[in-house]
Structures are given as structure tokens and as C-alpha cells.
């Protein structure tokens, strides 16, 4: 009898384990849906014990800063300390975290619960703040200081650059303003606080929020003070944009020769001014401060540039900051992608000279000009340059397709004429032809498609048969140009007049 009951007892843990596994498995199935639903606003902070002090026994607290700020009517001093200059300190009613987890816990409990009790509002029980919640996604979005926003700050501060821009003076051991050395914040303020240099997050909140607060106290129209004002995507979209603003000048040249110390290839003329207009902020290219590329990226790669060589910095096709990557992205726009989507990732031979068109290093440098190409002039329509092309070589189930060759060329010419990039890179009418007539010498009559694309093709050599070559070329281009013209076979092939004939006209 004893042995029987003993046996049942020994099975109980196994049974419980099984139940636990089953319940976690079913929970695992449910979780993604809940995860997708829950999103918290940009003002929601997750408060947890600093890892250096230990772990919390209860779940971390989701704290809605905007809601609390509204509850105290924007009076920051209710919760935050203020220093001599009137600047609000970022920590909650204290200068630093201290060294004891218990003291920090008491600090929060006393101040939060005390205030809730005094006001007779807000959470009281432990679980109301320390609630176990499914993982949430924050709608927080980064605010970018673009040309327009910068210009609005310049106007508001009456061109007092020193209000925001500073450098650290080693001799005086303080922050000073240095004209001509203005930098973007990220040049010094990185992801974490180093010594006395605060992290970007801390520095931005100290400087921006304090200034906005001072403005509010002085009764001026000023920037937002709540989290969502800067970090809510919907509120960001409502930030007023200036139609016209002054060009940002910090000693950059309008046009220059791209040079590399020790470089052996021909130099590249670069129109800095024209590139400024293609973007909304300097950091599109100058991702870490406003220094020139070759300051951190050298021919061999140094730690300052993360080991990225100058060659890669300019040519990495995957990066959106590099010349090639950004131009590639531009070529992916619907107007360009029709032809450009067939371009391989690896640069073709001879493509170096497209940009490297200047003198060799050491030679005297003329003015760095990259003039637009003369507009493409279409030749008169003739047998060699037909207005219409009838494609009947494979007509079987359908009547021959009449391709309006002239209309296509004109459309491409107009599109290319409108693009600032295309007018500088497309050399005349030849580039337009090459979009379809690949491998043909520009400006000459191309060989017919059937010269290379045989009926069956060489599928495993990636040379499709004639039918597939036509369809890929036409449909691929129409798709990439965003033309929803793939409505079926008959949008290009009219129905055969007579009854369908299999293997008919070839």
C-alpha cells in the first residue's frame, strides 16, 4: 500500500511539469497577437533599478511622464530638482542614484506614493504601479534637426549660436563658444555619458527642455515641453516648416575636388552646394560631426572611422551615406528603376571613369565643375530608329504585338530630362537606349534581341529564351516604374483575328 502511494507521489512533479510546459506552449502561441496590439506613447518610460544596484523583486514600472506632467500643470519642480542656473535636473528628485538599492526604493516609494496620497489620486497598491504587463512597443520616434527646424531655432534665438553650440576649453575647463567650429551634437555627445560629458540623450534633454522651459516662464512662444511634442510621430509631422531658410555655412566650399591622401586614381569633382539641396540635413552624409570624410576614413582604415576605408565609405552600395549607395537609392525611384533595376550590384568595368573624371593626383587642378550633359536629342524616325516595332517572331496564341517604340523613347527622354542626377550622368541618347538594348554599343543600331536570345535560350547560363526575354524586359520595367499595366496578355497582344491556331505564325 505504501509503495503504491509512494509511486503516485513520485509522478506528481512530472505531471506538474507537463502541465506547465503545455500552458507555456499555448501562451507562446497567443503572445505575438498581444504583442502586436500593445503600443505605448512616446511619454511612457519604464522605471527599473539601475543594474549596478541589483534586481527588482517586482516588475518594473511603466510611468507616463506626459500624464504626470499634465497633472502637476507642467511644474517640473514638483518632482525634479533645479540647479543654481534654473536648469531642471533630469533625475527624479535627486542628484544621483546613490549606492543603496533600499534607499533608492524608499525614495521612489515615499515620493510617488506620498504625492498620490496627498492628492488623493493615482495608484496606491503595489500592483497598480508594479504591474506585470506584456512587452510593449513604444511609438517614440527620433527627432531630427533638419534645415528647417534649425532655421526656426536660429530665428528664435536671434542668431545667438552660442546658446546651443559649444566646445570644451581644456585651459579654462569650461564650455565656450567658438565661431566657425560649430558642430552637430553627435560629434561629442555619444550614446553614453563619459566623465563629465553627458550622453546625447541627457545633453539634448537638458539643453532643449530647459530652454523651452525658460521661454515658457518668460512668456515667449517656445518649443514643446512634453515628451510627445518632440518624440511623437504625429506631433513631429505638425512641426511648422519654413519655406525659405538661409543656407547653413560653416566654411564648406561650393565645389571641390574629392581627394585622398595617397590616392592614385583620378580626382572626382564634387558639387557640395548642389548636394545640400538634395537632402534636409547635414547628417545625411556627415553622420558623425561635420568633418570631411577623409578625416576619419583613410585609404587603410583607422579606428576613428571604425576601420571603414575611404574607398568603402564612398562606394559601399549598401550604405545610404556613401556616394554609390545614395545614388543607387535614387536610381530605385519609380522613374529610374525601370532601366536601373537590371543593374548588377558589382560596378561594371569602365564605370569608375564616370565619377573619376578629374586630373590625376599631383596634376594642376582646374575648377571642379560637373556640367550637365547636353539634353538627349532624338534622331528622326527611320528604319533604324522606328516609330513602331511589330514583334511577331513568336506570335502563336495571340496576334503580333505592336510596340510604340517612339513613345517609349520620348517618355524616357522626358523622365531623364527632369532628373538632376540623370542630366549629369546620362550621356546623350545612348544611355536611354541601353535601358532595353543592353550590351549594345551606344549610338549604334542594336542587334535584334533574337541574335542572342534564341527560342529556347540558355536557361542555365541565365540567358532566357526570346519570349522570356521580351516579357521580362517589358513587364519588369512596367512593374518597377509603378505602371500597373500588367492586366493580362491582351494589354500588349491583341486577340488573334481568326480562331486560335497552335504553333501558327512564327
Amino acid at each position: 500500500m505504501t509503495t503504491m502511494s509512494g509511486r503516485i507521489v513520485s509522478w506528481i512533479p512530472a505531471y506538474l511539469a507537463l502541465v506547465a510546459v503545455a500552458s507555456t506552449a499555448s501562451e507562446g502561441c497567443r503572445r505575438p497577437a498581444a504583442q502586436a496590439q500593445r503600443e505605448v506613447g512616446p511619454g511612457v518610460l519604464v522605471l527599473r533599478m539601475p543594474s549596478a544596484l541589483g534586481k527588482m523583486r517586482r516588475p518594473p514600472v511603466e510611468f507616463d511622464h506626459d500624464r504626470h506632467a499634465a497633472a502637476v500643470r507642467g511644474d517640473c519642480k514638483t518632482c525634479h530638482l533645479v540647479d543654481r542656473t534654473g536648469m531642471v535636473l533630469p533625475k527624479f528628485g535627486r542628484v544621483d542614484d546613490g549606492k543603496s538599492a533600499g534607499k533608492l526604493m524608499d525614495h521612489y516609494h515615499d515620493r510617488c506614493v506620498g504625492c498620490h496620497k496627498r492628492r488623493g489620486k493615482g495608484a496606491r497598491g503595489c500592483g497598480e504601479c508594479h504591474a506585470k504587463r506584456p512587452r510593449a512597443r513604444s511609438s517614440w520616434s527620433e527627432l531630427r534637426m533638419d534645415y528647417s527646424l534649425h532655421a526656426r531655432h536660429v530665428l528664435a534665438q536671434q542668431k545667438r549660436c552660442a546658446d546651443c553650440h559649444h566646445v570644451y576649453d581644456e585651459g579654462k575647463r569650461q564650455l565656450v563658444y567658438k565661431k566657425g567650429a560649430e558642430e552637430s551634437c553627435v560629434a561629442c555627445h555619444t550614446g553614453r555619458t563619459v566623465g563629465r560629458r553627458p550622453s546625447l540623450r541627457l545633453a539634448a534633454h537638458r539643453a532643449c527642455v530647459s530652454c523651452h522651459l525658460r521661454g515658457k516662464i518668460a512668456g515667449r512662444a517656445t518649443g514643446p515641453l512634453d515628451c510627445a511634442g518632440c518624440h511623437g510621430a504625429d506631433r513631429q509631422a505638425k512641426i511648422k516648416r519654413l519655406g525659405r531658410y538661409e543656407r547653413l555655412l560653416r566654411g564648406q566650399k561650393d565645389r571641390l575636388w574629392v581627394t585622398a591622401k595617397g590616392g592614385k586614381i583620378r580626382r572626382v569633382p564634387f558639387d557640395h552646394r548642389a548636394h545640400e539641396k538634395t537632402t534636409t540635413r547635414c547628417s545625411t552624409c556627415h553622420h558623425k560631426g561635420l568633418a570631411s570624410c577623409n578625416k576619419c576614413h583613410t585609404l587603410v582604415g583607422i579606428p576613428a572611422g571604425g576601420g571603414v576605408t575611404l574607398e568603402k565609405a564612398y562606394h559601399d552600395s549598401k550604405s545610404e551615406r556613401s556616394c554609390v549607395g545614395c545614388h543607387r537609392k535614387a536610381a530605385g525611384q519609380p522613374g529610374c528603376a525601370g532601366c536601373h533595376h537590371t543593374q548588377e550590384a558589382e560596378a561594371s568595368q569602365g564605370s569608375c571613369a564616370v565619377c573619376h573624371r578629374g586630373p590625376l593626383p599631383g596634376a594642376p587642378l582646374p575648377s571642379p565643375v560637373w556640367a550637365p550633359q547636353p539634353p538627349a536629342v532624338l534622331p528622326a524616325f527611320s528604319k533604324d530608329f522606328p516609330e513602331r516595332v511589330t514583334i511577331d517572331i513568336l506570335a502563336r496564341d495571340y496576334a503580333p504585338s505592336v510596340m510604340p517604340h517612339g513613345r517609349h523613347v520620348r517618355k524616357l527622354r522626358d523622365l531623364a530630362g527632369k532628373s538632376r542626377l540623370a542630366v549629369r550622368f546620362h550621356g546623350g541618347v545612348g544611355a536611354l537606349c541601353a535601358g532595353c538594348h543592353h550590351h549594345a554599343k551606344p549610338g549604334t543600331r542594336p542587334a535584334p534581341c533574337s541574335a542572342c536570345h534564341t527560342r529556347r535560350g540558355h536557361p542555365t547560363r541565365d540567358r532566357p529564351g526570346l519570349g522570356a526575354a521580351f516579357h521580362r524586359q517589358c513587364i519588369g520595367c512596367h512593374q518597377k516604374m509603378g505602371l500597373d499595366s500588367w492586366l493580362g496578355c491582351q494589354s500588349c497582344h491583341p486577340k488573334a483575328a481568326g480562331p486560335r491556331k497552335r504553333g501558327g505564325k512564327r
Partner: protein
């Protein structure tokens, strides 16, 4: 000695485990799986080129003598819902991602993948499925018993079954146009594809071609050829511009052939079938014999005891008898003695009386 049911099952489990272990160890040495027949053919479906025209469905139906697929080809409403492979539709094109801006819709053609190590063949107990050296997995309806294990086990849900056929239903699925490729033709779908999105050729060449395309256009393709290794590899290879899980294919598919999951166990089955009856009968006979011997011994002991008891009884009786006899003899002697003494006394008394009479 006695053996409990638990102990017995435990012991045989160890035997089976050792056998299974040796099977796995054998598979682990050297080349761990079948890499496909040399010069086997295959097909490559490039989903970035597919435009969802369904010409392949039409060609497939025509080649296999099946009814024409539903709806006019230009009618895109058919893609509103996912269709699956049936006995009348060997191949089916589904739309997995809708078109947005200049990003075209993504379609994928589905059919039997012709696995290198097919599950359908591994579960079929009448061996109706064969992986041919040319690539296709062929099905022999003449031996099929209609258990439909193959239909249920296929990881791609690519087998159709003639549920409407009451008398002689068979499994219906893509044959990779075996008859056509034997003659040197292309499969019907590959020939019909107007975009060249389906390429037929040697599987090795197709893998090389697919790698070439990924290298040339790294932005266009996901860096994976589905079917190169997935579940041990398939004859149909798929290239995609979006993650494969969006295309209804397992995204982290094991590279292990699925039949391997059961081969260890199944390899033990014949062993169990041959050994178990003998083993069990042996145990039975052994137990029975043991019981019989025990019975015999018990009986012998009983008989012996009985004999001993009898013997002891007899001795005791003899002893008693002797004792009784001696007691009786003693009593008789005593009585005789007593009688003699009495007689002596009477004689003395008479003598005395006589003397007294004489004397007066």
C-alpha cells in the same frame, strides 16, 4: 527468482535502444545524407520574376489531361484566397504579397517538391514511391492500398487524393513530367512560363545559376535557395525576394531529411518483430519450466516428508508396543510375583495352623 513486468520491459527497452543507437551511429559516419543522384534534373522557380499569369497551371493541366484551371487567366480575384494542390490541380500559383507602389506582387508556384529523401516514400509500407535517378519521385498506383500516409506526411502539403473516386482512388501529384523529360523535353510548366521564371535543368547547374543571381543582385534576393538543403533538399528550388515564411515555406527548416526522424525507430521495428515473439515465447517457456520444476521438487519433498513421517510413526508405534509389552510383562511378572508371594504366605499360614493344631 521472479521477474516483474516493469523489469522485463525496461530490459527489452535497453536492447532496442542499443540497436537504434547503432543505426544512428552508422548514419553519422562519413557522408551523413544522400546528396542526390549525379546529373539529376531539377527546376528553379524564381519568385521575383513570377507575375502570376498561371500559364504553368494551364500547361500542367493540358500535359496531364486534367480539367482547365478555374477562371480566366487575367482575373486576379482568384488570388484573394489561398488555393491548394488537389487531385485535379497538380500545381497552383498563389499570391503571397500584394503589390505596393513599384513593388510588384509576389507569387509562388506550388507543387510536389520532389524531395531528395521523400517522406512519402519513407512512410509507404508497400513501396509505391520511388526517387528516380533523373530526379522525379514516382508513384505506382498499382500497389497503392490507399492508406494516405503519404498525403498526411508531406511537409509541403503537395499531394492530392481522389476522394471523389469511390472504387479505385489514387494519389495524384506532380510527376515532374517524367515521360517528357525522359524524351529530353522540358516539363510543361517550364516550357509555358512566359517570364522564364521556371528554369529546367540539371539540379547542380540550377544551384550554380541561383547562386549567380543572388551574387549579381544581392538587394533583390534573400540569400537562400529554398530546396538546396531544406529537409535534405528538393529537386524544385525556389528563389525569393522576401522571407520564405511569407511565401508559405518553413523559414528555419532543418537540413536533416525528415525520414531520418523516424528511421532510427523504424529500423528497430523488424528487429522487434523478429526478436519479440521468440523472446517472449522463450520467457514464457522458461517461466513455465521453472514452475514445473518447482512443482516437481515440491511434490518430491512432500512425498519424502510423508515417507519420513510414516517411518517415524511406525518406529514410535513399535516403541510403544515394546513399551506396552514390557509394561504388560512387568505387570504380569508383578502379578505372578504377588500370586507366588500370596501362595507362599498361605502355605506358611497353613503350615503354622497345622503346627498349632499339633501342639495343643
Amino acid at each position: 527468482m521472479s521477474i516483474s513486468r516493469r523489469g522485463f520491459l525496461g530490459g527489452t527497452g535497453v536492447v532496442a535502444g542499443v540497436a537504434a543507437g547503432s543505426a544512428t551511429a552508422r548514419a553519422g559516419g562519413g557522408m551523413d545524407r544522400f546528396m542526390g543522384y549525379p546529373d539529376a534534373m531539377g527546376l528553379l522557380h524564381d519568385t521575383t520574376l513570377c507575375v502570376g499569369c498561371r500559364s504553368c497551371e494551364v500547361a500542367c493541366a493540358k500535359v496531364n489531361g486534367k480539367p482547365k484551371p478555374a477562371g480566366p487567366l487575367h482575373d486576379k480575384s482568384i488570388f484573394g484566397k489561398m488555393r491548394r494542390v488537389t487531385d485535379k490541380l497538380y500545381t497552383v500559383v498563389n499570391r503571397y504579397v500584394k503589390a505596393r507602389g513599384n513593388k510588384p506582387a509576389v507569387y509562388r508556384k506550388h507543387q510536389c517538391m520532389h524531395c531528395q529523401e521523400p517522406c512519402c516514400a519513407s512512410v509507404c509500407f508497400v513501396k509505391a514511391f520511388t526517387k528516380t535517378p533523373e530526379g522525379p519521385v514516382l508513384y505506382d498506383p498499382s500497389v497503392c492500398v490507399g492508406c494516405r500516409y503519404c498525403v498526411n506526411v508531406c511537409p509541403y502539403y503537395a499531394l492530392g487524393y481522389e476522394y471523389e473516386n469511390a472504387f479505385n482512388p489514387t494519389v495524384q501529384r506532380c510527376t515532374m513530367c517524367y515521360e517528357r523529360i525522359k524524351k529530353g523535353d522540358q516539363p510543361g510548366c517550364a516550357e509555358a512560363c512566359p517570364m522564364g521564371a521556371i528554369v529546367y535543368g540539371k539540379r547542380e547547374d540550377l544551384l550554380r545559376l541561383a547562386r549567380q543571381r543572388i551574387a549579381k543582385f544581392p538587394d533583390r534576393y534573400v540569400d537562400q535557395i529554398f530546396g538546396e538543403h531544406e529537409y535534405g533538399g528538393t529537386s524544385w528550388l525556389t528563389l525569393a525576394g522576401v522571407s520564405f515564411d511569407k511565401l508559405g515555406l518553413p523559414v528555419n527548416a532543418s537540413h536533416k531529411p525528415l525520414p531520418e526522424l523516424t528511421s532510427g525507430f523504424l529500423s528497430v521495428v523488424p528487429l522487434v518483430i523478429t526478436i519479440y515473439p521468440g523472446l517472449l515465447l522463450g520467457f514464457y517457456a522458461w517461466t513455465k519450466r521453472k514452475e514445473r520444476l518447482a512443482d516437481q521438487a515440491r511434490e518430491a519433498a512432500a512425498a519424502e516428508a510423508r515417507a519420513a513421517a510414516e517411518e517415524a510413526g511406525a518406529a514410535k508405534a513399535a516403541h510403544q508396543k515394546k513399551l506396552a509389552e514390557s509394561r504388560q510383562k512387568k505387570a504380569v511378572d508383578l502379578a505372578v510375583k504377588k500370586a507366588l508371594a500370596q501362595a507362599d504366605r498361605e502355605r506358611e499360614a497353613a503350615k503354622a495352623a497345622a503346627a498349632e493344631e499339633e501342639t495343643p
